[in-house]
Each structure stands twice: as C-alpha cells, then as structure tokens.
C-alpha cells in the first residue's frame, strides 16, 4: 500500500477529476487536494476554475470515489510568487505568463512539499502531458498539450509525477468521466484565461495591487519606430507585443504593437513585418532533460501556447541565459512569455523571453518579409 499513495491536485474540472478517478481505478491510494490560491468571496463568483463551486465539485468527486479531499491554503505564497510577479511584469512593459509561475512554484513546489508531508509517493495533475522515466513529453492530444506551461518543474518532481490524462484525448477524458459516473463534472466548460483575473481584465488587478497612479496605467505616447508620435494611449499595461486592438488607425498598412518602453511610457507601433524575429534571448532558463544541450545544439523552440515550433540553434549560453538563432522567423516574440525547447515530443527546458531580435547572431540575415 505504501509506495502507491498519490496526492492529486484537483481543480474541480473534468481533467483532474478523471486523473484522480483513473488512478483510483488503477489501485493507487488517492488523496485529493484543491489549492485555495486567492480569496473566494469577492470578484470571482463564476470562474470555471478556483471558485468555491469548483472546490465543492472536487470534494464531491473525491467523496464518490471514497477518498479524502483537502483544501490547501496557498494564498500567501501564490500572492507573492504569482500575482505580485504578474503586476510587476506588466509595469516593466512585459507580458507575464502566470500559469508557468503557478506550476513552477505553487503547484509543483509548494504542493509537492505538502505531498511529502502527507507521505505521498506520487503527485498527479490533470495536465495534458506525459511523464515518462523522469522526462516530460507533449500530451498525446496535441491540441490540448500543456507542456508549454510545465517547463519550470524541478526534475526530481517529474520523477514522481503522474499525468494520467496526458495519454488520451480530451474527448476520451470526457468519455471516462461519463463511464465512471462523474456526471457532476463530465461536461464542465474548460477554464479559460487566468484564474485570478476576473473577466480577463488584467488592468483591474494591476490597479488593485499597484494603485490607479501606477506608471503602467498612465497616459503615454504611441510612437512609430522612427520616433514619430502618432497618438496617445491610457496605459502601456493594456498592450502586448503583436496587439492590434486599441492601436490608432489611418496608416497605409495595419499597425501592431512592436515594443513597449516603460521609461518613456511609449507603445511603439510598426507593420506586421516588424514583428518578425530571427533571434531570441531568454533568461531564467531551466532544463528538464538530464544533459542540457550546449552551444551549437539544434533544438525546436515554441514561443507561445499553441504556436508551431521552429528549428533553432543555441548560439550562446551564459548561466541561466540563452540565445537562439531561429531557422525561420517567429512573429511577436514577447518579453515575459515563455520560450520552450523541445526535441520532437520531449520537453528539454524553457525560459522567460527577454527579447527578440530582427537578425540572428549566427545568420546575420536581413528580414525577408
């Protein structure tokens, strides 16, 4: 019996519920846990994830399986590691990716520690990814693959990670939910957006955390790449690289946000071609694989969720900083987002994008529009 106890992180959604049910069916001693990450009583009454109803759904699923369920209060750590960083990144003119930090710090570090305290040999989640012999691979259902958000997990945690739904499609997951009688959650809508951001309105969170007078929320200029001012915006935190919405019109070609400059509060605009980058610098790099690739190694890089990866060469490694030369240009390489490296299906590692460059160091090629 010992050697088979598993702590399952349960959001109350179909994926983690089915994960728990499958492990229970396979004979594991399942303990369900729902993380309480922020206060439930205001702002967020109807979120598909993290709301009080979701906690109740997770508890009901556990009750129907006959296994214990606990609510873990990780509010203060989540506030520090995820929410604070989220607003700080926006005020630095970057576009944060809180799900990665939540996985890295909250779910697979803090929760993993709780699992140790409960003498669990394994921890499990409902992620679409596959953990095989200490390595992480893309979920079998590529449309649902979530490895893009999982690169920050420590290797020793991956070794005791179970991801039961990563080996099936979403449709199969729902079918399993029905087969196991988990009707409460079988057809639940997927969680969208960021769990702690009500109505996708991240500005509201920045205002709450940093105050309405935060520089990132003050008026600033729209400028072209040559410095010409072409209008005014009401806060650079409302913009991200590649964004078109909210950008002034009247140009020959459609204009996009190509850069954000916090010192001058400028949002820089350019045509679609100006978004293309051949080089990429990332920091905070962590390796998932046993022997990290070095300079000259060929990898595949993905620079946003659902983007098609491109081939690249590692041209520089300095501590946890890495520079890549891309074989094909990527559009809207966005500081603060993740770049994740793969070898086919296998996750090699990842990092936070520091910058994209028009030309790559290796090729020194001009942009071909």
């Amino acid at each position: 019996m010992s050697g088979k106890r598993v702590l399952v992180a349960m959001s109350g959604g179909v994926d983690s519920s089915v994960a728990a049910a499958l492990l229970h069916e396979q004979g594991y001693e399942v303990i369900g846990a729902t993380m309480k990450l922020f206060c439930h009583d205001e702002d967020l009454p109807d979120r598909p994830c993290c709301s009080l109803d979701s906690v109740n759904d997770a508890r009901r699923v556990c009750q129907s399986l006959g296994v214990p369920h606990y609510v873990l209060n990780l509010e203060s750590a989540f506030g520090r590691d995820v929410v604070q960083d989220f607003v700080d990144e926006y005020s630095r003119g970057r576009t944060p990716i809180p799900c990665v930090r939540c996985n890295t710090f909250t779910k697979f570090r803090d929760l993993a520690r709780k699992a140790e305290a409960l003498e669990c040999d394994w921890i499990a989640t409902g992620h679409y990814a596959r953990a095989i012999r200490g390595d992480l691979y893309r979920g079998l259902d590529h449309a649902k693959d979530q490895t893009y958000f999982l690169w920050g997990i420590a290797r020793d945690v991956v070794r005791r990670l179970l991801l039961p739904v990563g080996h099936q499609t979403k449709a199969q997951t729902r079918a399993v939910a029905h087969r196991l009688g988990l009707e409460v959650i079988a057809e639940k809508v997927e969680s969208q957006d960021i769990c702690f951001v009500p109505d996708g309105d991240h500005v509201k969170i920045i205002r709450r955390e940093l105050g309405a007078d935060a520089p990132a929320l003050q008026r600033g200029p729209f400028v072209l790449e040559n410095g010409t001012m072409v209008g005014e915006h009401d806060g650079f935190a409302r913009f991200t690289i590649g964004q078109r919405k909210g950008v002034p019109g009247g140009f020959a070609a459609a204009m996009f946000v190509v850069a954000i400059d916090p010192p001058t509060r400028a949002v820089v605009l350019g045509p679609r071609e100006a978004l293309l980058g051949r080089g990429l610098v990332a920091r905070g790099v962590r390796w998932m694989c046993e022997s990290p690739p070095g300079v000259g190694a060929r990898v595949e890089v993905q620079h946003r969720h659902h983007a098609t990866p491109v081939h690249a060469e590692i041209v520089r490694v300095d501590g946890d900083e890495i520079e890549l030369a891309l074989d094909a240009p990527l559009s809207a390489i966005t500081p603060g987002q993740s770049m994740v490296l793969y070898d086919g299906e296998r996750l090699l590692g990842g990092g936070f994008i520091e910058s994209g460059t028009r030309a790559s160091r290796r090729l020194e090629l001009p942009i071909v529009a």
Binding site: T34, V71, N73, A117, L118
Partner: protein, 386 residues
Amino acid sequence: MAPPIYLDHAATTPVRSEVLEAMTPFFGARFGNPSSVHRWGRDARTALDEARSRIAACLKAQPDEIVFTSGGTEGDNLAIIGPWRMRRLHGRNAVVTSPTEHKAVLEVVHQIAREGGEERLLTIGTDGLIVPKSLTTLVDAQVAVCSVMWINNESGVVQDVPAIGAHARSVGALMHTDAVQAFGKLMIDVTVLPIDLLSMSGHKIGAPKGIGAMYIRRGTPFEPLFHGGSQDRGRRPGTENVAFAVGLAVAAELQLAEREQECARLGAMRDALQSAIMARVPDAVVHGACAVRAPHILNISVPGTDSESLLMALDLAGIAASGGSACQSGSVSPSHVLSAMGVSRSLAGAAVRLSVGMLSTDEDIARVCDVFPALVAKARRLAGAA
C-alpha cells in the same frame, strides 16, 4: 485500520439516540402546525410548549423568555441586533464585544458599525481573558449591549461572565453571552446571573443541526429581525420546528443531568491527552492554559509544524481534529482568537484543537497519545529537511 477517532466535539456532535427517539413521532403522526386550531395543531402546540418549558427549566428561566432559533449564529444575531435597534433610539448606540468572539458575534458587531452604530472591542490578555480595565473603560452609558462568549470555542477559556455582566448592568448596558460551548459544561441559573440574553445551540449537545434557543430576560427591549407571523411572540416568526424543539429539550435535560459526571470524565481525558503530549513534545504550547478552561477543549501548537498539514496527517491516521476558523471552502487560516491572545503568526498557524465529548473513550485517548507525537515528529523531520 482501527476505527476512526472523533476529537472534534466542539465542532459538532451526533444526535443522541434518546433525542432521535423523542423527535421521531413529529416526522410522522404528530406532524401538525402548532398555529392550527384543530387537533393536530393542538397536539403540536402542546409538544412545543412543553419543550419550551423544559428548556426554560434548564436555565431556571420562564418559558416566555425562551425563543427557538436555528442555532448559535442566529441566536447571536438576534441577541445583539434585536436590542441594539431599540436602544440606539435612546442614546445607546454602542455595542461592546471581545476580539476572541465567534464570527457570529464579531461580524454582527461589524454590521452594526456599518449601519451607523459604534463598535467597541475589549482588550484580551495573553491568558485569553478580558482585561478588566478595558471593560470599565469601554462599557459605559452609551452601550446598548455587551456580548462576551462564556467558553471560547477555540481555546476553551472561560470568561468571568458574572463579573462582566455585573459591570455592564451597573451602567445600564444589556449583557449577552454566547453560551454555545458553555451549555452543559457550566451551571447556568439566570435567576442569579447578571445576564439579559443568552444563545445556545442544539448540535453541540446531541440535538440536530438547525435548532438552538435564545434566552431573553422579560422586559428586554427587542426588535425582531424577521417579520411575518406571531410565532415566539413575534420575536422569531415562522412555523416552529416542533420535532427539533422537542429534540433540543431532551438533549438539554440529558446534558444537565450528566453534567458533573461528564465534565469530570472529559476533564480527565483532556488532561491525560495534554500531559502525554507535553511529555513527548515538551516544547508544545497549550493555549489558554493560564486561565480556567472548559474540560473538553485542548488547543495546542507544536513549533515547526503547520496546522493544515498536521490536520491532514491526523485525518489520514483516522483522527478528526480542527484548526483555526475553517473558511467556507474548508481551508484553514490562522485563528483570530489566538492572534488576539498575542500568539505569534507561526505558532497560531500550527494550532490544533482537540475536543473530547460523548463519543470519547479512554482507548481513543491512549491511541491519540501515541499517534499525535509520532505525527508531530514526522512533520518536524520533513520541515527540517525542506
């Protein structure tokens, strides 16, 4: 695995078989509405009146001084807001309470402040007792109601309600006590006690959840919160829950009949548990140990552990206990009671409340005396390794 052990009697208790038996006819043949004129109505009304008299007798009160409620929270709401709404019209706009009260009192007082009343909080010493000086300073001629919990639900600390009530009344304030934990543990005789209002709850004493009672001394100004009927003399309209009222009366009588013997039994078990844990975890801290404590509650913190993990480990080992105040989602936050007693955040975050009661046996205690220190040692090893 050995059968699970329930050490959370301060949270709730099972319905006693005598209570269930007494209630059963009212779910069947004796289903009448006490307000009806026919025989079914008369039968229900008789049972209700009898239950009211029996509960009154348990407090040495008059039957018309008893109001049935849905439990402790409703009783606390009625007992504070009801009189305040009347008395604020006569220059008494303030309410006084302590920071170690149950949320059912604290939130009511906050609500009164939002409605234009004045909220005054007494000072709590590190022993968990109200600092007398703050009482004499804060309870004055502007005060409508002073509300102090008799036995604290988390620490078990017993407040000197007779002395507090005597002072409150000397300045014309009404005295309310939340006696949810105290009923059946302390002798309550309203003919000699300087209190005007008291709330109690059924499910802490072997009656079902959803029933409680409030004592309102005759002549106490009171405005009801609900409107729409003359039940309970208009103080609490709505068709009475006859079955549960009967159950409450039976549970209350049993509790009083067994009081002395049961308190001695519970106190002995609690003390055995405390000394066994202290012997094996000498740096553990027992909260409220410097004051008079109720016999059934042990609130203890082990430095270097956290209550969330310890409670889960206890549950997995088959032992049911509680932490601070449980929030709606079921997660545990550091207790406001211990914080008010000056307990550090880390120590308050490690607090575990073990409460013995009707289900507890010496065998239970012996097993917990073994398991608790072992789990603590394991938790500390892991915390040290992290």
